[in-house]
Structure formats: C-alpha cells, structure tokens
Amino acid sequence: MSDQTILQVKNLKVNFDVSSEGDMPWTKPKKLQAVNNISFTLNAGETLGIVGESGCGKSTLARAIVKMVPAESGKVLWLGNDLLSLSDSETRQYRKQIQMIFQDPLASLNPRMNIGEIIAEPLRTHYPKTSESDVKLRVSDVMNKVGLLDNLVNRYPHEFSGGQCQRIGIARALILKPKLIICDEPVSALDVSIQAQVVNLLMDIQQEMDLALIFIAHDLSVVKHISTKIMVLYLGNMVELANSNEIYQNPSHPYTQALISAVPIPDPNIEKNKELILIEGDLPSPINPPSGCVFRTRCHKAKEICSKEKPNFIESSTSHSVACHFHD
C-alpha cells in the first residue's frame, strides 16, 4: 500500500430518465437521482468498501466510474486524467488498468467460449500482436494464480461451479495486470465456504500485485474484512466514510448505526441479547427524494432542520467523514 492516489472521484452525479406508468408519450420523463454528489479518493493497494442496501446506487456508481453509464456531472480522475472528459477511444487505453468482476459468476462468462478464450480476450483486445504461445503462457500463468489447473483451458463455463466461475472472472480481470479492480458483489451468489476462498484469494492477489480494489457488497461483515476504508451509501448519497475498524467501533451516522446493529453475528450470546436499532418504514422513492437529509423519514434522531437543510459531508475526525446534523 502506498500513498499514491490513483483514483479521485469528485462530485459525481448520475441521473436516469424514468417515465412512470400512465404518462403520455409527450410528458417529460422524471429524473431519478441514482448517484448524488459522491467524492472519494483511492490510493494504490487500498481497498474501498462500498456498502448500502437496494437502491443506494452502489452498482450505478461502479458503472459510472468505468463509463458504462453516462454521468450527469462530476470528475473521475484516474492518475490525474479525467475519464469523463475523454472520448471513447481515448478512454480505451485506460481500460487496461481498470477491470471489473461481477455478481453472477456464470452470467459474466460467454457460454459459447471456452475459458482459455475468455481469459485471453482482454490480452488479445489490447495487444493483438501477442504471439499464440505468449498468450497461452500468460493465460496459464494467471490461471495458476487463481488456483485453476492448466488442463481446464478448453472447458466451458457451464462445466464449472460458482466459485470456480468467479475465479475465471478474476483471472480474466488480472491478465492485463491492472491497477484497480472494481468488484460488484463478487461473493453474494456464492456459498459461505466458497465466499471465504474467493475473499482470501482477492486479498492474496492484492498484496502480491499491489492492486487497489473497490469492493461493493451489501454484506457488511465481508466488506469490513477486506476493506481498508468503508463508504456507506443511502439513496445515492454518501452518509459516512471512515476506516473499517473505525466504522464498526464508532459509527456516527444513524443509518450506519442501524446497519451495523442489523448485521447478525454468529454468536447466540451476542445475538440474543442485542439491542436492535430498527429502521421502520420503506425506502423513499429516488424520483422524489425527501427534502434536506434523504434519511430523515426513517431516522429516529430527525428534527426540523433535517427537512430544511441537507447536511454536508464533513470530516468529524481524522479520516472519518459524516453527513448528519446530529451525528455522534
């Protein structure tokens, strides 16, 4: 881990146009604020965990960083270059350095290609002049790194288990020796014992290759284990950002507190005596978010100011930032 900042996201906003049922074809579509003013930095070798529940915008954020969805405004500075201001062809060269792994391990692999071809694709795309033997070597190299035997090169994705498919996805992401891998819920679809294998694998590779990771998940326990720092999102807004241990020991935002209290711990003594902080009510509609603080409709601390003034995201202590008028 070094102090070199490789990624800086500044005030990123992503909106979607949605039309609701019953609208006439000429009515203007409404705006859905999927990502609202998100900023953070990431250093080489660091892991940023992004947690939040359905509709918090974490997947949209990931896709906006790699330009898979258009951003409304903001900057994505990769090694100093604002990706959002570059054209598609200019962005292409940076794609070698930022890779992604996905939630559904099987669906992220083309069922008609064998895994050798799948893993080799990034290499062939960016370095088409590489000789066949070199390609084979690199593929075999990276397969060994993720714990897959060489003789499986000609197999097809459906012949593998979920955990193995995820390893194939990781191998594909590694072959170009990227600096950052964005992991979008990579272990949610896997069994517990396999989750642990994949998480360990990611951490090992990270150390070996000085890789930065953005790890998106809804399982706070897994995220805390793998991340250096954690960002908590709610309805497209950042509510808290701090180091992993800090977030667990001193959660300042009411939502974070509720989130942590809701995570069931595998220990009957702790669980049965736990004081649950329950959030009542439903997630508000992102098309019509609450005025002021978006969390106020479900917050037990909400007062009048919360509906009038949106709390700023400020540093409450060293490397611990919160957006709340009444944070702890």
């Binding site: 794609r95 070698k96 003789n151 097809y156």
Partner: protein, 308 residues
C-alpha cells in the same frame, strides 16, 4: 488448526474428468437432438429427398421437357406410372415424364426455399443484431422501417412485381427475399436485447472490446441457436409462398417447374383418372415440409436456453 491439504485438492481437481476437451453447448445440443426420434428421422428423410434430386436424373429415361408423343393427350390410358415405359411416375397431360419433372420441381423448390431462407437469415440477423445492440433512436428508426415493410401486403406486391417485371427465378428471389427477412430481424433484435444486458457483455465492454467484436464474437454466437430454429421454419414458409405463386400461374417459367406448378397441373386433371399427376408432387411437397417442421421443433428443444 486447519491446514489446507494440497494432495486432496489435486485429487479433487483431477476428478474433474479425464479428457481435456470441454463439453461445449453445441455438443450437448447435438446429443439432445439425436435423442428426438421425429427430428432425426426427418433429417434422414430430408437428406434422402435431397440426394434423390441429385442422383435421380441418372436413372431417368426421359428429360423433364421431352414430350412422349404416345402419351400426349391420352395420359389417362397410356401415361400411367410404369417401369417399362420409363415413366416411373407417369406422365403429365402433355406427355412429359413426371419423374424427371418431379426431380426438377424438387430441385427448384428446395433451392428457392434454402437460398431464400439463407438470404433472409443473413440479412435479418445482421440487421436485427445491430439494431438491438445499438439501441436508442437508431433502433427505433430501424424497427419502424421493418414495421412499415411488414405492413405491405406481401402476396399482392409479389404478384405485382412478377406481372410487371416478368416471371423469372430472379424476380421470385427478389420478391420473396425482400420481405422474408423481416420476421427474422424482429426475433434477432428481441434476443439481442435480452443478451445485451447479460453480464458477460458488460464484462467485454469494461475490458474495452470494440462494438463490432462484441456483436460478432459475443452476441451472434449466442443468437445462432434461435436463428437456426427459425431458419428451418422459414424454409417451408418460403417454399409455400413460391408454391402458391406457382399455383396461381405466376411462378417459374415453363418448361422449368416447381412443386407448386406441378400440383397446380395435377389438381387440374384430377377428374380425368390421372391421380398420379397430383399425388407424386404432393407427396414430395408434404413430406418435405413436415420434415422441416420436425427438424425445427427438434432444434428448438435441443437448443433450449435452459442451459444447466
């Protein structure tokens, strides 16, 4: 403390199965297809008919346009199917050998059907895949064009073209080809929309694979299944269209003939005790169509996207 057991893992990995080659989805589909008796039998019957159309002429005594003056005008008495006279299938009213004419008809009909379907498949697939993948306004415009073309009364236009520009095989192709790719493009576009959102397409985009390569390497191969099914169902459709045109008298020009034309002639003379003139071409026509439908059905079951 639990320590990883390397030997155990190696054993498990080798258990994976001995052969190095993978079991691709095409192989799985082939196995499933073969298990479908109707489809496999149909495949053989169709192949038999196709080989007949190539080999048959070597056994023919008469050509398809030669007139047997003995039989002309008196087909009911003299033109019956017989081995001695060389008229295996009998003769038509003009005394022409039905065996050779049926072979000729088979060649023409199958050719129109298969070639027509091929053109429709290629044009329809590329058009539909591009439209579906690009999405947005391009997709809207492309599909509206398809909608407009589809609303044209097919038969009407085809007949008009043939009457205005004269009857020829070329015109037949143009007329049929112009409109039969539309359905295919709709189907392919739908499937493409479905595929577009799959994660492996996202993965390819993030990697930086070009749009063209995504369409050709990732989308089209995953479309082939559904395309194959509809292609085999397109062929009979085109043969039927051509047969109908010929039945109306607007099809291929004499002395060339097709199943439709033969059926037209045969059905016209039914009351004159010359059933063979209708039955032979009809039999070939019906059997071939059934075969295509069974094969199409078999393909659809075999390629069912319930992979795994």
């Amino acid at each position: 403390m639990i320590v990883a057991n390397k030997k155990k893992i190696k054993d498990m990995a080798e258990n994976f199965s001995e052969s190095g080659a993978g079991r691709s989805l095409w192989k799985d589909a082939r196995i499933r297809f073969i298990q479908n008796k109707a489809a496999t039998i149909s495949l053989f019957v169709l192949l038999a008919i196709v080989s007949f159309s190539f080999i048959g002429p070597y056994f023919a005594v008469w050509s398809y346009e030669q007139i047997d003056w003995n039989a002309m005008g008196s087909a009911a008495r003299v033109g019956m199917p017989s081995i001695e006279s060389g008229h295996y299938f009998g003769t038509d009213d003009l005394g022409r050998d039905l065996y050779s004419r049926v072979i000729q008809g088979t060649q023409i009909s199958l050719m129109v059907g298969v070639l027509g379907a091929s053109v429709a498949v290629i044009v329809g697939t590329l058009y539909g895949a591009t439209s579906g993948y690009l999405g947005g306004k391009t997709d809207q415009i492309m599909m509206r064009i398809v909608d407009i073309l589809m609303s044209i009364p097919y038969m009407f236009v085809l007949i008009l073209l043939l009457v205005v520009f004269g009857r020829s095989i070329g015109m037949l192709f143009i007329g049929i080809g112009l409109l039969s790719w539309l359905d295919m493009s709709r189907i392919v576009r739908g499937q493409t929309l479905n595929l577009k959102n799959k994660e492996f397409i996202e993965a390819a985009k993030v990697t930086g694979v070009s749009d063209f390569k995504i369409i050709t390497r990732h989308i089209v191969p995953n479309l082939l299944g559904i395309v194959a099914v509809y292609a085999t169902l397109l062929v009979p459709g085109i043969i039927l269209a051509e047969s109908f045109i010929s039945f109306l008298g607007l099809g291929v020009q004499e002395p060339s003939t097709s199943w439709g034309a033969l059926i037209k002639e045969g059905s016209g003379t039914i009351s004159y005790d010359t059933e063979w003139q209708l039955l032979f071409p009809l039999a070939f026509f019906v059997v071939s169509l059934f075969c295509f439908y069974f094969i199409g059905d078999g393909l659809r079951d075999a390629l069912d996207p319930k992979e795994r």
